[in-house]
Subunit: 490 residues, 2 copies
């Protein structure tokens, strides 16, 4: 069968978990990344583009200890290189790049990277096995001025892509403060610490009172299920709750409360000092609490981060799939992680960075109507007489030279209805018609397709007559008339 | 050993044939693709971005008939999907996308795609296993107006990225004309036809006289080696040579000569008609022979193309690695291929398209100094007093707000020399210095680093004194003075 010459037709299908992106999905993302890159560039960050393929050895974390590497990455065995894999994020390649090129790179090294990453995970609704990341990191700067800079840049970036001030908030915390609080609470056991961190992370959902229950015996959740608690005593839970309640109206107030919450912990005090310094740096540059705040509820996962952590969230409300109002939530996050290249060189190198959730941010902009509006389709010049293709091509050439998106219908022109259906499918704002009669009289028919569609939907017969959506203009007025119509819908 | 906890440090190394791209390498390519996308968009082409991973079945051509797929692609076996592979070009995914989504897509479907593709080949100098392609194709348009449009768009694109008119030429031929000539020459044998096509392809190197020898008995090449010929008789070679010599000063002349060369061949006459129509369409839109010409020497490989073929070459001379002058050569090519989706659907769908060699085009722009000039690095604000980081951050915030790329030095500020070395490595045009003394007097020192470098190279001691490269200005003049220096080097 397999050797049969008449093999069955192949299926035209993306592999599961992969998808195609069309038209504005692609160009809007490209435009957004272009604007982000503009801000990053202005901040002195340099672009870096590494290959999609890395050795599994360099990627780390997913070492092949049996036949095949662990799940999670797409990996295969290369004849020359051994196991290689598609990158699963942009941080692991940064570590490899920095270790490989450290003698040529400036120190500190500010870099940004944008591009797809791949995860070999079970796909689900809205979860794909290839997606975009957009990262900026500063490698080799121990000072928290680097963290403050990233937070300022993040605020600027959100505004540059179209999120107005007031619709976002960058929230900063510090893992050292958290560690100090855990120290004060007397939690030495790693498992217990992790359980407490996970519980703190739920404060957005269950509130401080809910966290209090979850740190103790447990809690009956909204669905009626009983959630077991971490089992801390009241005395142990108290510093954690004080910490969580320490957000004040101003940074100075928050810092003072945090200082009380970490008590005598040296690491905690160091963390509070850092937050105070970051707040001062940002305030000096004019980033007030309408843009960037210290917020003790930011946890950002376990283990990885060693100092300041930050998160950008969009604060406006959207309707979820069940029609309930909820905040849009997080679109970016990051923090300080100080062991980036140690695996390669043995030397610890401090680093801090942020990753923007490109697809979530795009979704937010669409939700707010900040992208995706306007007439995206091209002006379509229809073909009434196939022998006069040169005339029609000259028309689109004129329109394009004037910066107007335009095309000639290149299908079989016999059925004019098909041409208008095509213009509809292309979301064309304007169709241009020049039959033999028009040609002889030196005129064109120009159809306002957006108005036409509106009239077809709503208008009475009188309105139809009063407000025609088709104009006859001299051939020489092509560009002017089309522009007039486009401007009206812009 | 493998189970040993102290495993050796991983090598920080890209897999062979892959590389990292830094800074302007990335941003200049992004800028070029942005401009190309602008032209394509104006022509009514829609962006398409498919995933890097396709099923081997959908990719075709490289079916796994043994354990592993053939060489040439990076492929692996997925648990759920069977064999999958990284795309090796952008045309195979287009075929799959069109077949999969044909009910929703407009017909004709104009699309462009830009992105990396992967080849599992032995890497060599300048040959990488991941590289960019940038394609535009029109699917479902049988008319050669689609081919003419692609050629016009290609000319516009080259000008949009910075290749001035006169420095490039789009050359068009038609495989049907070639086939007609081979028919007239009486060459029925496929192998002999292919040999003749390969010989024609050499006309740029060996000239028409060289082709005459190679079509006959053979030829002594420049290195002294004797190259066996195809073995045609004079009578058989004559139509081929007439065809090759048919390029006239004007399209009409070339067309007339080609018509003579294809004699009574029906397919040949069809090809000449198509070229004539393309020439008329382009001429009506003002694309003269300074931009687009009919050129019988364009062959563009074997087999694949079925009608018009085209190629864009840069006509200016560069020095090759041995210091000899040569033309820069081809940067884009394409043509009509009419069996795109037949594998999937059983229905033949006409298509035509072009692929731009992104890296070659970038190299050409760099060669001509059209990109890569100017001050790319950021203004560096040095840190004289680490307790006044907020002051320095405020300075860069002011500069950035004025659209000037700027950064604070975030390394250890103790050694001022290191800060200036850093500025040098960053190719910074300007350094800003505010020590305690300057702070007290309300002034800044602003160093023109480009002038400084020039003076250091060339100037006599007198010139050094006369033309200082460091200015003391009031703190309030920071942005104005920096801009003045930058404008001078722009």
């Amino acid at each position: 069968m397999a050797k049969d010459k008449k093999s069955p037709r192949p299926r035209a299908q993306t592999p599961k978990g992969f998808r195609d992106y069309f038209g504005t999905e692609v160009s809007e993302r490209a435009e957004m990344l272009h604007r982000i890159a503009g801000v990053y560039h202005r901040y002195g960050f340099e672009a870096l583009e590494s290959a999609a393929v890395e050795t599994v050895e360099a990627l780390g974390k997913f070492l092949p200890d049996v036949d095949r590497p662990n799940e999670g990455v797409f990996a295969w065995e290369d004849e020359d290189e051994g196991w290689v894999a598609l990158r699963y994020d942009l941080t692991a390649p940064l570590a490899r790049v920095y270790a490989q090129h450290r003698n040529e790179l400036p120190l500190p090294y500010r870099r940004y990277a944008m591009g797809p990453v791949w995860r070999n995970e079970k796909p689900g609704p809205g979860r794909f096995r290839q997606f975009y990341q957009c990262d900026a990191d500063t490698v080799g700067a121990a000072t928290v001025a680097a963290d403050a800079e990233i937070c300022a840049m993040l605020a600027d970036t959100l505004e540059a892509v179209g999120i107005p001030r007031g619709d976002y908030l960058v929230r900063i915390n510090n893992r050292k403060v958290l560690n100090g609080v855990l120290e004060v609470a007397g939690l030495g056991d790693d498992a217990q610490r992790d359980a407490v961190l996970r519980t703190i992370d739920k404060v957005d959902k269950v509130g401080v009172a809910g966290v209090r229950e979850l740190l103790g015996k447990g809690r009956l959740d909204a669905s009626g299920a009983y959630i077991d608690g971490v089992g801390l005593s009241e005395a142990q839970a108290e510093p954690v709750l004080a910490f969580l309640s320490s957000k004040g109206a101003e940074a100075a107030e928050t810092v003072a409360r945090l200082r009380a919450a970490v008590g005598g912990s040296a690491i905690g005090a160091e963390g509070v000092d850092e937050l105070e310094e970051i707040a001062a740096l940002l305030s000096a540059q004019g980033y007030g609490p309408d843009r960037i705040v210290i917020d003790p509820s930011v946890v950002r996962g376990l283990g990885y981060y060693t100092g300041p952590v930050f998160e950008a969230e969009l604060t406006f409300e959207i309707l979820d799939e069940k029609g309930r109002k909820r905040q849009f939530g997080s679109v970016a996050g990051g923090g300080r992680y100080d062991d980036l290249v140690k695996r390669f060189t043995g030397q610890a190198v401090p680093a801090t960075g942020v990753s923007i959730g490109v697809d979530r941010l795009l979704a937010a902009l669409r939700e707010k109507g900040r992208i995706g509006g306007g007439a995206a389709g091209p002006v379509v010049v229809t073909v009434m007489d196939r022998d006069r293709m040169a005339d029609y091509q000259s028309m689109v050439a004129e329109l394009r030279a004037a910066g107007i998106r335009a095309e000639v219908y290149l299908g079989n022109p016999k059925n004019f209805g098909n041409q208008l259906k095509y213009a509809d499918k292309r979301a064309s704002p304007v169709a241009v018609i020049e039959g033999g009669d028009e040609k002889a009289r030196g005129v064109l028919q120009i159809k306002d397709l957006i108005l036409g569609a509106k009239l077809a939907e709503n208008a009475s017969l009188e309105e139809w007559k009063e407000r025609p959506s088709q104009y006859e203009v001299p051939r020489g007025d092509l560009v002017a008339k089309v522009r007039e119509i486009l401007d009206q819908w812009a």
